[in-house]
Amino acid sequence: MAKYIGKRLLYMILSLWMIVTATFFFMRIAPGNPFASEKKLPPEIEANLNAHFGLDKPWYAQYWEYLVRIVNWDFGPSFKYKSQTVNDLINEGFPVSFLLGMEAIFIAVAIGVILGIVAALKHNRWPDYTAMIVAVLGISVPSFIMASFLQYFLAIKMGIFPVARWESFMHSVLPAVALASTPMAFIARLTRSSMLEVLANDYIKTAKSKGLSRGVITVKHTIRNALLPVVTYMGPLTAGILTGSFVIERIFGIPGLGAHFVTSINNRDYTVIMGVTVFYSILLLVSILLVDIAYGIIDPRIKLAGGKKGE
């Protein structure tokens, strides 16, 4: 196991290096620079700025400097937000996005799995249809429409929740639900289909003929095996949701990390682009690793070390 994890960590560093390199070069190929604006700067000021931020150095020097910075976990100052460093932006934004993300993941998994199980157990009957209509809606309605819809009815018309902002638990409910709706629907469908598959297996028939109660069969034999695809999906979902959603954070005015993924690119804020990319990549790589480890715990047939089964 330790050997396996060690090997995986090595691969992770390699992937990270490739991501950083690709981002660095794509970013520099893109036209424009952090100081571009409708009002053009006098050239001597622009030259001065380029020198200050080291943008006048040859690319390999900048690239090397950047790699050193990542190793030291010091991404440098933001070009646009002069009162904050990139580390500040991440340290302040991530906890907010993390909290909101956890709430959304909880809603998505709890409701998604329940809906999926109910749908599978009541296959082709009304609970199944109801659950799947909810799921189709969840997948097909984009999150920003869901967000505006929730805002309009639950906040403006009914006055139950505040419209936006990030102050108390009440403020977090609408964005969490909006953020959760798509993954929830996805999880419901995944659970349903894999439940149906498992239910058709011979060992379920055996369990039934042994005279086991329905509850035992469902919990012990079916759900455990049916959750594997859901766990697979959890890896990228966690990384994606925990780092924040641009759209949801914008609509609800949440000071999270999500906005920086998009605005930093529009601003050509090089240090922020690299910082959030590296941060996101690490989160993604780690959560994929955790998912692979979780496989082994849920399904003993999957051997992590030594076996030939790939990921």
Binding site: N33, L41, N48, L49, I156, I160, R214, G253
Partner: protein, 548 residues
């Protein structure tokens, strides 16, 4: 029965989670509503809640370079002058201003004012702040706003020394400023944020003084910076040490950062904000008409213009008649009524009517198709084409945005209908777009301009030199340059105004730019809210604001 029950319970679970989340929220929302807009009572809470869209990139006046930072700075720091409620500069930190006969030396007497930590405001605080911005080591992008001062430009680009900059503290309370040229709008500039003072004692001791609220962020304006939670909100409270604290009625201002016009309006409608829309935020375009019909919308023209620039170095726009034909063949009113819906003014001139009143009419009538056709034929003859169908398709460029796209499509259609010219649209991401414009890799392209100070010069001088950073049309004219040069040494205000008008006339005669519309600010505000002052430049001040 058992199965039914299990479904029933799981559904119940879902429902109860939902309801649990709902209950208890009621009082919260009510509480939010109480805060603001039920005016009329004797002791209305004097707490203003506005949206400023985004995190201000910097609250150091030397580094600020954007409207959001300016909005916050204007409330907490005070310059030598301040733009008054009538739009004219009035004395602020300066108690008395004395101008020499050649209008190149100003002597400011600083009033007895205090920083929020009790330090007196001295002439040296201004010298320190301005020289700090000009110091090339500090990388101030807006340092060029100070180039009116003698020796400032040289000091900033490293050719001169900071010691030679023409700003001096004669004593603690007397500041002397020497200018390069007579600058009739200099007292407007001293109200601008790059000219704001900095508490030199604090800033010298702690170079990072402006990154957060707290004891290091000392203020000398009507409000004090109490809280700054980045990307979330800023809280200002009335300053007790402000020299004119009597005029300040608001106890606090909460500035939140929501970058979504729909949310902003929803929050306003829900009583969570006292102001929605310009100049600090934005209203959704779809809502404009409804707000107008309900009579809730306030519209105010500001000094800003939306232009279609012509690249005068390439065919066919190297021909003046072709440029004129294209400029005449646009129905601006139709664009405003159907696309923008914000009561903007059609622009047939380059200097906004907030500066030259007669420019409301402009130099030519809007949508003059007959004239356009004449110009087109003349231009085609000069270029050696028989008719418009022979003209190669023209490319109209804009940067990605719904409004720019809709306008471009409308103009494409107008040029096709009115002139019979084929037009291709070319859309690019903002930075890519700026790159194209700056390298003259375009034929016709949109660009906006918002005034920095209330003077026509601000809208004309960018076209002085063909290679000037903001010209991007490739156009220049000796006559135009001469008039601008004359205007900057002219000390008589009326004569100077006339020189600038003549320069504008030359510009419009050559038409390197087709003006489209002059900007307006549109907003809705809470009923009891009074005396929020928005200047002709679109700068907002809350000094006098109060709830009734």
């Amino acid at each position: 029965m058992n199965k039914r029950l299990s479904i029933f319970f799981s559904m119940l679970l879902v429902l109860s989670m939902f309801l649990a989340a709902c209950s208890g929220g009621g009082d919260n929302a009510d509480g939010d509503k109480k805060g603001g807009d039920d005016g009329g009572k004797s002791d209305v809470p004097q707490e203003l809640r506005v949206n400023i869209n985004t995190e201000p990139p910097s609250l150091n006046p030397g580094l600020a370079e954007d409207a959001t930072s300016g909005t916050v700075l204007r409330q907490i720091l005070e310059g030598l002058t301040r733009i008054g409620q009538d739009g004219e500069p009035e004395n602020a930190m300066a108690e008395d201003v004395d101008m020499s006969d050649d209008q190149k030396t100003y002597t400011f007497k600083i009033r007895d004012a205090k920083w929020s930590n009790g330090d007196p405001v001295t002439a040296n605080d201004f010298v320190y702040a301005w020289k700090w911005a000009l110091d090339p080591a500090n990388n101030s992008t807006y340092a060029y706003q100070l180039y009116y001062i003698e020796g400032a430009e040289a000091a900033n680009n490293g050719e001169g020394s900071l010691d030679d900059v023409g700003v001096k503290a004669l004593d603690d309370k007397t500041l002397e400023v020497k200018l390069v040229n007579p600058t009739p709008y200099f007292l407007e500039l001293t109200a601008f944020y790059t000219y704001l003072p900095v508490n030199s004692k604090v800033a010298e001791a702690n170079p990072e003084w402006a990154t957060d609220a707290g004891e290091n962020y000392t203020t000398n304006g009507p409000f004090h910076l109490t809280e700054w939670s980045h990307s979330d909100k800023i809280v200002l409270e009335k300053s007790e040490t402000y020299w004119d604290a009597e005029s300040v009625k608001l106890d606090s201002i909460e500035m939140i950062m929501i970058n979504d016009p729909n949310t902003e309006l929803s929050m306003f409608d829900n009583g969570e904000l006292d102001w929605a829309g310009a100049p600090t935020g934005a209203l959704p375009t779809d809502a404009m008409q409804a707000l107008k019909d309900e009579g809730r919308l306030t519209t105010q023209p500001i000094a800003g213009i939306y232009n279609y620039k012509f690249n005068t170095t390439v065919e066919p726009f190297n021909n003046v008649n072709i440029r004129k034909a294209f400029a005449h063949a646009i129905n601006r009113q139709e664009i405003i009524d159907n696309i923008l819906q914000g009561e903007q003014l059609p622009a047939m001139a380059i200097v906004p009517p907030t500066m030259f009143e007669e420019n409301e009419k402009g130099y030519f009538p809007d949508n003059d198709v007959e004239k356009a056709k004449e110009f087109l034929q003349k231009g085609l003859d000069e270029l050696g084409y028989k008719d418009a169908s022979e003209l190669p398709a023209v490319t109209l460029s804009y940067n990605t945005s719904e409004a720019h796209q809709k306008i471009a499509q409308a103009v494409q259609d107008m040029w096709k209908q009115n002139l019979g010219v084929e037009v291709n649209l070319d859309n690019a991401e903002w930075n890519v777009y700026l790159d194209k414009i700056n390298t003259m890799d375009y034929q016709v392209g949109r660009l906006g301009w918002l005034g920095d100070f209330n003077d026509a010069m601000n809208f004309l001088e960018m076209y002085r030199d063909a290679d000037g950073g903001n010209n991007s049309t490739g156009w220049e004219s000796k006559e135009f340059q001469d008039l601008l040069a004359k205007s900057s040494t002219e000390t008589d205000a009326d004569a100077r105004q006339q020189l600038l008008k003549d320069a504008e006339a030359i510009f419009m005669e050559d038409m390197p730019v087709a003006p489209i519309y002059f900007y307006t600010n549109n907003w809705v505000q809470a009923e009891g809210l009074k005396d929020v002052v928005v200047s002709g430049l679109g700068d907002v001040q809350y000094k006098w604001a109060h709830f009734e």
